[in-house]
Amino acid sequence: MGGYADIMTGPEWVDLRRESRRTVGEWNGPDDDANIFNPTQLENFRNGVYTDWARELLGMGSQQNHQIGISGGDKKLSYYFSMEYFNEKGLLVNDELDRYSGRMTVDYKVTDRLKLSTNLMYTIRDHDRRRDPLNQANKMSPLGPAFDAEGNVLIFPVGDASTLNPLTDQVPGNYQDNEMNRRFFGNVSLDWMISDKISFTSRLGVDNTTSRRGLFSATNTIEVGPNGLSIARLNNRFASRNTWENFATYTNTFGDHNLQVLLGQSIWATTNETSFSEGRDLLSPTMLYQNIGATQTAVRVGSNYDRTSLASFFGRVNYKYKDRYLFTGVLRTDGSSVLAPGNKWGFFPSAALSWIAKEEGFLSSNDAISEMKFRLSYGVSGNSAVSAYQTLGGLSKSTYAFDRGAAELPAFGFYPSLIAASNLGWETTASTNFGVDFGFANNRITGSLDLYQQDTKDLLMQRALPTTSGFTSSWDNVGRTRNRGVELLLSTINVDRSQGLSWFTDFTFGANKEEIVELVEGDRDLANGWFVGYPISSYYDYEKLGIWQLGEESLAAENQQLPGEIRVRDQDGNGVITPEDRTIIGSNVPRFSAGVNNRFSYKDFELNVFVFARVGQMIVSEAAGSYKIDGLENGPMVDYWTPENPTNSYPRPNAGTSRASTRYYSTLRYEDGSFLKIRDVTLAYNLPAQIAQRLSVSRLRVYTTAKNYFVWSNMGPYDPERGGNLSFPMTRQMVFGLNIDL
């Protein structure tokens, strides 16, 4: 497990709870403990009995991956064949994935002018999931033992009948959530060389997934709650995507001119069919989810169907002059079913120019500049990533009942729940890119530099609506954005001695500036947090200054606050904090990211160290926002205010409020997510060739990798690359591997 968060220990949580009651006058000293703890927890506290629940839950995971691949062929036939097995055991008991995949590709030349190809792939994923127990573990009282004297999991460990031990889900027979996913992917294609200059390709593909997810959860599991009725649930899904594309290509060379023209058409359609059944109080837990009919109450069923489709026509011209001037032009038009009638079709042209300067006479014999290519492109692309039927609007089911005599008369209904997005159209992005590929000193230094600008208009987003309209949100084309950035790749060969040490370095750097350029109305959309000049995902909130301190009573009182509460900046300086004082305090878009990979090899040993940094992004930290101000539950250990501890970090514990209703509580969540980490270190040993030959293998490599072991950030033990979430910590992996090439 990677960096996590420090959850309060028993004594720490006792202090928090006491302080929260002290603030409202319900606790004045340990004599009042009996008023604020239940008897069992009080006794456990006095006896020093408490549990770090997350530690009880989190163990070591593991991964295994075995793969064989075989390829070969003759003049008429070529093939590739592979089989793979992958197993991953998660950090939690009963979290395990098995994946089996097989793949076969065959190309067969019927004649010199006709080739038939097939490409088939089959994957089985067998995934046991654990319902997240960490949420429960992190919030429940630590004042109880995990196990009884016989070593059995104690179901209600903290003296009340509503707090379950988060370990109950791993008691054998209590919980199973299994997803069995079978995917078949295949296509057949035909390539016909009609003449030396004209060819035609037709390709028909299917991608079918059947998925079955079954859940059984016994009484006293996290899913059904304390003494809840067991639940059995079965979800089936059949997803299919069928594609068919046809295109013809004309290729010709006239002296120094090389021309290729392509014309084609494609269609694809996806369908999703789901069905679902569920019931409570299963007659025997041994049946799991394989006999939903054996549930006794609260039976529910459901099914759903949706279909989306896309049709495209396209043409492309590739032109090359003297192998150094290259031009590509594309015209395409796409029609998408999910967009509104009248807006379904979009037109997307693009063009690219390249100049391979190295081929010019003045450079061709230059050793210092071993490679040099300039690229310039402009293109428009479209996006219609919206779920089906948004343009139609829709109704959702309602449930009510009347009584007729002694019987209950169902009164199901439908109410307007989705407003028709009747103007929905393509989001388009015009991208301009300028790039250089270079190599110096006989390619000891190689790399590329790209500068780009992307102008997006008619941005497709779900926008919040004023709920007085009767609806909460709708898809819409909401505005324009611009992205500008630079990407640099640099590879150097620092030392390269064939028998001794070699050292290679790869350096990557990327920086991007994203901003909204225009909104539908005005330049501030408060409900959605969109602001002209700022990234789409910006945080609009109060700016926390600290905590009101003793001695600042009268200032705090102007804002109806007390010492110990969160103090925020009065942005407009009018002396009182109102929603007008919210401001844009950051965004989750990094300023830049950079990576350096150093590869060393010495004789038969290799060492690879990859250092990665991402800088400037703000993240919403679940740990930072899980401070339990009311002392009702446990949470991460934080530096909170008390009259004796005048910190500016976290407000005073207060049983008279709740997290949801504490003013400016949301300001506690934001943290600088910048980090620097050694993402992986790999040490490998290659068996010397002579020994390998004796073992009849052409290569044998043993390696070990440490992933995510070293992280530097402002977020304590937490690994910010996870993005703020607490329930699924970043894994640290230690990998041991073996590669054999026959």
């Binding site: 319900e26 008023n35 008897p39 009340d160 009948a161 035609f200 003494n227 809840g228 009725l229 068919w244 046809n246 269609i267 409570r280 459901g302 099914s303 759903n304 949706d306 279909r307 489709s309 029609g335 079913s337 039927y389 343009t391 139609l392 609007g393 829709g394 109704l395 959702s396 309602s398 449930t399 009510y400 009942a401 009584d403 209950e408 169902p410 009164a411 209904g413 439908f414 109410y415 729940s417 989705l418 997005a421 609506l465 004023p466 709920t467 007085t468 309209s469 609806f471 819409d476 408060l526 804002n559 109806q560 606050q561 929603p579 009702l632 008279g656 409020t657 709740s658 949801a660 209703s661």
Partner: protein, 559 residues
């Protein structure tokens, strides 16, 4: 070979020419659209049905109870309350309040749904008679939702149109216009609803009259209020239950006193309320949840285990000392019907019982022995220590100024206990939420006639309610004389009669007594409440989402 390719070419061309228009057309087979479905017979009935469902969000639900019972003179925050600002009126009560935003959203969705039904019923294939009846039902419900909106937030947005295109503005409509619409809708309902329905729980004429009586009383139209309330009393077969406690018997949910109700079910499939567009349920705990919230955590005390008869204790709301003191339990049966004061041991064994000096003594319980006794009177330490069970006397729960000292040891309101649930943990109860009981009609007449100066008639209707509540033989002791009738007496009687029934906040607001009574009787909220708290803050998400921010603004007083 070439022939095959020619065919392929042809086929692909065919797919282009024929296919494209159809190929990209959407047909949502699993879903429905308003214009496609509501024009059918089953569709219009479905739309009418869906107008009933939103009532279930407010009644019998945690936050609906919090907004109507806490922050009044009779209930305050218990240990587990998740939305304390509603009980305390502190500065955390703001537009950021989640439950307020939830109700704002659901009530306006309900308004839109009823608007759609009112508009579409006349053009539907229903028979002419049924058109009138269904429209009357829906207009009754629309008035019902409008009342919740206008009393909660004051003069906010009012629209009578079905929304079909994205709307980014809202209007500020004066309270008077809300009530004009409420009266118009209810008058239509009274004139067109049948006196009874084969479907118990459908809107009927007496329910509309009763609600209209409440509305007239609210607006000071005393004569109309009294007339309508008397019609409900006299023109139908409603009768007060003989025994107040019987009203709350889970086997007596359909009784002679219920005029308007929200129907809940024992069948969880029928408790599922509304689905969102992606198929989720909008509120997880369907059914009537009111059995959970008023109970103190008895199961943590010696000799007690959680069981179905004592209920699943969420400890969200506790009574103020003032409410307990309102009852004279020597003559009024409602005290014992309302509060559980004794818990009998269901976990036999020997336990160590804490004494007032911090030491302990061993006590042994047999099944059925008294394990906990709660009393609203103070006891001395010696008295408490002498008893062989846990005592929760007045001083244990309340301080010298009646401020709560602890919030998980108190007398528990037991009217809503639901021992018919199949498991102790099940939150969905089948108890119908009583919205209007006949007793309210008597008290409406009493209040309206008092306002009109007819004290005799006021007293006679008042006494119908208090006499029914009397312990056997104490009827005379419960009666009041015409000259004793005051607004405060009526409010006291309403507290005794309707405690927990989601009327209190509205009653105090209607009578202009909210601030006065909270300041006098609710020490938790007394320092904070101000006149501007007579309406709730408008959700900030609404204010953020509109384009006419100059015209639609936060209620006065809220930051």
């Amino acid at each position: 070979m070439k022939k095959i390719f020619n065919k392929l070419f042809l086929l692909s061309l065919l797919s282009l020419s024929v296919g494209c228009a159809d190929f990209l057309e959407e047909n949502n087979q699993s879903g429905l659209t308003a214009d496609g479905y509501f024009v059918t017979l089953e569709g219009i009935e479905a739309l009418v049905n869906s107008c009933y469902t939103p009532m279930r969000f407010w009644y019998g639900k945690e936050n609906g109870i919090a907004m109507t019972e806490t922050g009044t003179d009779i209930f305050t925050r218990g240990n587990g309350m998740e939305n304390p600002p509603v009980a305390l009126y502190n500065s955390d009560l703001s537009g950021a309040n989640g439950p307020l935003n939830f109700y704002w959203t659901r009530l306006y969705s309900a308004l839109n749904t009823t608007n759609a039904a009112v508009k579409r019923i006349p053009d539907s294939p229903l028979s002419a008679a049924l058109k009138l009846e269904r429209e009357a039902e829906v207009r009754f419900l629309r008035a019902f939702y409008l009342w919740h909106i206008v009393e909660t937030w004051g003069g906010v947005h009012l629209s009578l149109d079905e929304v079909t295109v994205v709307q980014t503005t809202a209007n500020r409509t004066p309270v008077e216009e809300f009530y004009a619409q409420i009266f118009e809708d209810l008058t239509f309902a009274v004139n067109n609803l049948p006196p009874s329905s084969i479907d118990y729980g459908r809107a009927i004429k007496p329910a509309a009259e009763a609600f209209l009586a409440r509305m007239h009383l609210t607006r000071g139209n005393n004569a109309e209020a009294s007339t309508l309330a008397k019609q409900v009393i006299n023109n139908y077969s409603y009768a007060l239950e003989e025994n107040y406690a019987d009203l709350w018997d889970i086997n007596n949910i359909r009784n002679s006193e219920v005029v308007w109700l929200v129907n809940f079910s024992a069948d969880q499939v029928l408790n599922r309320e509304l689905e969102s567009p992606d198929g989720d349920i909008l509120l997880r705990d369907g059914g009537n949840n009111s059995h959970l919230f008023f109970l103190m955590t008895y199961d943590q005390l010696p000799g007690m285990l959680r069981d179905i008869n004592n209920g699943r204790p969420f400890a969200r709301f506790m009574p103020t000392a003032y409410l307990l003191d309102l009852f004279d339990e020597s003559v009024d049966s409602r005290f014992d019907a309302t509060f559980q004061t004794v818990w009998y041991a269901n976990r036999p064994g020997t336990f160590s019982l804490p004494l007032t000096d911090g030491s302990t003594k061993d006590v042994t319980f047999s099944e059925g022995d008294t394990a906990i006794l709660a009393t609203k009177y103070p006891m001395t330490n010696a008295e408490r220590d002498a008893l062989p069970y846990t005592t929760i006397d007045r001083n244990r729960t309340y301080g010298p100024d009646d401020e709560p000292r602890v919030r998980d040891r108190y007398m528990s309101l037991r009217k809503f206990l639901d021992p018919s649930r199949p498991t102790i943990s099940q939150q969905q109860g089948q108890r119908d939420a009583f919205v209007i009981r006949l007793a309210e009609m008597y008290l409406i007449v009493a209040e309206a006639e008092m306002n009109l100066g007819n004290m005799g008639e006021a007293a006679s209707h008042f006494n119908e309610v208090s006499r029914r509540a009397a312990l056997p033989g104490q009827e005379a002791a419960m009666e009041v004389a015409p000259e004793d009738i005051t607004l405060d007496l009526i409010l006291d009687e309403r507290a005794r009669e309707f405690a927990g029934e989601q009327l209190r906040w509205f009653d105090l607001k209607r009578t202009g007594k909210l601030v006065e009574r909270v300041q006098a009787h609710n020490p938790d909220a007394a320092p904070n409440i101000r006149p501007f708290h007579m309406v709730r803050p408008i959700p900030q998400s609404q204010l953020d989402a509109i384009n006419n921010k100059d015209e639609f603004f936060q209620n006065e007083g809220y930051l």
